[in-house]
C-alpha cells in the first residue's frame, strides 16, 4: 500500500467517527431510523478502512466464525427467554424497570444482530482482500 498516503490518512481520520456512528445507529435503533442490520453494515465498512491503514492480516477468520457461532446461540437464547419469560419479566419487575424492560431487550437484540452482521460481512471482505491483494 505504498503511494496511497492520501487514502491512508483520510481513513485514519475517519475510522473513529465511523465506529462511533455505527454504535449510535445500533444503540438508537429502537428510537430513531436504524437498527442492528444497518449499524452492522456501517461497522463492516470499518474492516476495509483498517485494511487501507495497515496492510497486515490482523483478523483470522477461524476466530470470526467461532465468535459468530456463539453469537447465534446467544441470539436464540435471548429470543427464547423473551418468548417464554417475557410475561413473567413484565409482571414481576418493579415499576420503573417494567417500563424499561422491553426496550432493553430490543437494544440487546439489536446489539447481537449488529455483531452478527458485522462478523459475517467481515469474513466475506476478508476473503476478497486475501484473494486480490493491493501491491
Amino acid at each position: 500500500m505504498k503511494g496511497y498516503s492520501l487514502l491512508k490518512t483520510a481513513c485514519q481520520w475517519l475510522l473513529p467517527f465511523v465506529l462511533l456512528y455505527g454504535f449510535y445507529i445500533v444503540l438508537n435503533g429502537d428510537m430513531s431510523p436504524g437498527g442492528g442490520f444497518q449499524g452492522g453494515v456501517v461497522f463492516a465498512s470499518c474492516y476495509l478502512m483498517l485494511y487501507f491503514i495497515k496492510d497486515e492480516k490482523t483478523i483470522r477468520f477461524k476466530e470470526i466464525l467461532t465468535i459468530d457461532k456463539w453469537l447465534f446461540f446467544l441470539l436464540i437464547g435471548v429470543g427464547l427467554v423473551h418468548l417464554i419469560g417475557g410475561q413473567w419479566l413484565l409482571t414481576s419487575l418493579p415499576d420503573h424497570w417494567r417500563r424499561l424492560a422491553p426496550e432493553l431487550i430490543l437494544v440487546l437484540l439489536n446489539l447481537i444482530v449488529g455483531a452478527n452482521v458485522t462478523l459475517a460481512f467481515w469474513s466475506i471482505l476478508l476473503i476478497f482482500t486475501e484473494e486480490g491483494e493491493l501491491k
Binding site: 435503533g29 429502537d30 428510537m31 436504524g34 437498527g35 459468530d68 430490543l106 444482530v113 469474513s123 466475506i124
Partner: protein, 98 residues
C-alpha cells in the same frame, strides 16, 4: 436555410415522444391516486396504537423486525452466516488447489 442533420431530427423526435409518454403516465398516475379505494388499515391501526406499549420501541420498523417478526431476522442471519461460510470455504479450497 440550413439543412438539419437527419440524425439530430431523429433524436429530437424520439425525445419529444418520450416526454409525451412521461406526461401521459404522470396524468394517469394522478388520476389513479385521486380514485384510490380505501386501503385496509387494521394492521396499521394495531401498530399505531399498540406497538409502543407492547414493544417499547418508537421506531415501528424496529419493533416489527425485532419483536413481531423476530424469526424472520433469525433465519436471515442464518442465511447470511451460511453465505459467509460458503465464500470462506470456496476461497480456502482455491488456495489449497493452487
Amino acid at each position: 436555410m440550413k439543412e438539419v442533420d437527419p440524425l439530430t431530427r431523429h433524436s429530437i423526435l424520439k425525445n419529444s415522444l418520450l416526454i409525451g409518454a412521461f406526461i401521459i403516465l404522470l396524468n394517469d398516475f394522478a388520476k389513479a391516486l385521486q380514485n384510490m379505494p380505501e386501503y385496509p388499515s387494521a394492521a396499521m391501526n394495531h401498530l399505531l396504537t399498540r406497538a409502543v406499549p407492547e414493544t417499547g420501541a418508537l421506531n415501528l420498523l424496529n419493533a416489527i423486525s425485532m419483536h413481531y417478526r423476530f424469526l424472520d431476522v433469525l433465519f436471515t442471519l442464518i442465511i447470511l452466516f451460511l453465505a459467509a461460510a460458503g465464500v470462506l470455504f470456496m476461497g480456502k479450497k482455491d488456495q489449497d488447489m493452487r
